[in-house]
Subunit: 245 residues, 2 copies
DNA sequence: CGGAACATTGAGAGGGATCAATGGACGTGG
DNA sequence: CCACGTCCATTGATCCCTCTCAATGTTCCG
């Protein structure tokens, strides 16, 4: 059976509480269903879109896992995020009518295609949808600020701790374990995201394991002491006056 | 005379080509004028808004200079951007109905207040305005990705070079010199933005000066060799094959 | 079974942080 | 107008976290 004929409407989608229709009333959600006529499958390693591609649509991840990355002229690239089910890709393309980053599937994935002109049209009719689109873009801006904080002011241990906590929290919101996960990305991709080299990522994983904070076996990670991870993220390490007041 | 009574409409504002009304047709711009009934002055050192403040409006910088920063529980903070005339502040507040970062004036400033509910209402009527709001948010997302690239994959010299080029380019777009500027922020604020310590910022400035790339005297900076700065930003420094072709 | 991709670990080097002192710029008040 | 304090910038010396280079181990798949 053709994938595109599998009708999974927003109204009946199990991601509706996380995804674009979040908080919308039934009539608005039905309108969204009309907008999403098209689904797209992306194989592991393939690009949903690449930097420079013309922008036409946003994408809602239905299943699978993505990374987004930007590349400089001289070939360096920086992973700017990892996206899982219910998250929206492609917001970077609006301003220039072409994508500023690339989105690569880290495992076989499926996305709902949201033609942006139609989405704008519908947002003009439904103020709840309009506001929701604004919230999604604002959320991305706030997320980016968090990454800047991480990259600009944290040391390697803190970065990796924050990364693991963020990841497991998002997975937990999707019904997965609160303490276990299988990473979909390589050490190098984690390192690129966190602004450190893959060896440093690996070493930091090992140190966490030695300290009994996590259990790591390649891509598998289990958080044994979430408080220790939280402490790493939330406490400054300058001066030694680690007061918790 | 009261500041608020000084009517400077978008239609006659000298920033209209850079600011929110950019590219809008005259009738839409007039509608914007009705929306912006209120101006606000912010003294040097004062906050336009602080993290946690309830979100009501976006702000368009009319004059002056701002920094935005986020703060962690343990008191570390990270400057996430510097904003000058024509740039929009406050997009971070939409998602949670409260601001996620603080905006501090680095010199006496004046902003146009854009009540967000009214802006949403107006964008439902005018699709050009609607799209423009989306472009502004997308632009911020793309800018943030650039900062991540800078923080995640550049060394100190490259960061400062990119910073200076970005700043002078934005100033030039506002009619200032292409090669000279007076920095409105301290070394510490630059350092926070670029993820380095103030001493490193200062040392890097000095090195650039020794190399004849720039001339620095405290806050005054003159770019003597823009190509050298560009080369720093665009060429990888791994392997030692620093060809300048 | 062999190869490719990925992860781990070690040794050594270096870039930026840290600690510390000095020097300018600017504003305020005598 | 100068003295003084404050804030900011510069510069030096030293340390250490992370990078780099390199070798080995593991997993997966043709």
């Amino acid at each position: 059976m053709d994938l595109h004929s599998i009708k999974v409407a927003c109204t009946s989608c199990n991601l509706r509480e996380l995804c674009l229709p979040m908080g919308l009333a039934p009539p608005e959600m039905e309108q969204l269903d009309h907008l999403i006529t098209n689904r797209r499958r992306v194989r592991r390693g393939a690009a949903l879109f690449a930097a420079g591609d013309p922008f036409t649509s946003l994408y809602a991840v239905r299943s699978g896992f993505f990374k987004t990355s930007v590349t400089t002229a001289d070939g360096r690239d920086q992973v700017t995020g990892f996206q899982m089910a219910g998250e929206i890709l492609g917001l970077d393309g609006i301003v220039q009518d072409k994508h500023a980053c690339s989105a690569i599937a880290l495992e076989d994935a499926e996305v709902c295609v949201l033609p942006f002109d139609k989405l704008e049209q519908l947002s003009r009719e439904f103020s709840a949808l309009q506001h929701h689109v604004h919230r999604i873009m604002s959320r991305e801006i706030v997320r980016d600020q968090g990454v800047m904080l991480l990259l600009g002011s944290m040391r390697a241990e803190e970065r990796l701790a924050a990364f693991l906590l963020n990841l497991v929290q998002r997975l937990h919101a999707r019904g997965f374990s609160k303490s276990e996960m299988v990473l979909r990305m390589t050490r190098e991709e984690i390192g690129s995201y966190l602004g450190m080299k893959l060896e440093t990522v690996s070493r930091t994983f090992s140190r966490f394991q030695e300290d009994g904070i996590i259990e790591v076996k390649q891509r598998y990670v289990r958080i044994l002491d979430p408080n220790a991870l939280n402490a790493l993220v939330n406490h400054a390490h300058t001066g030694g006056t680690d007061r918790v007041d």
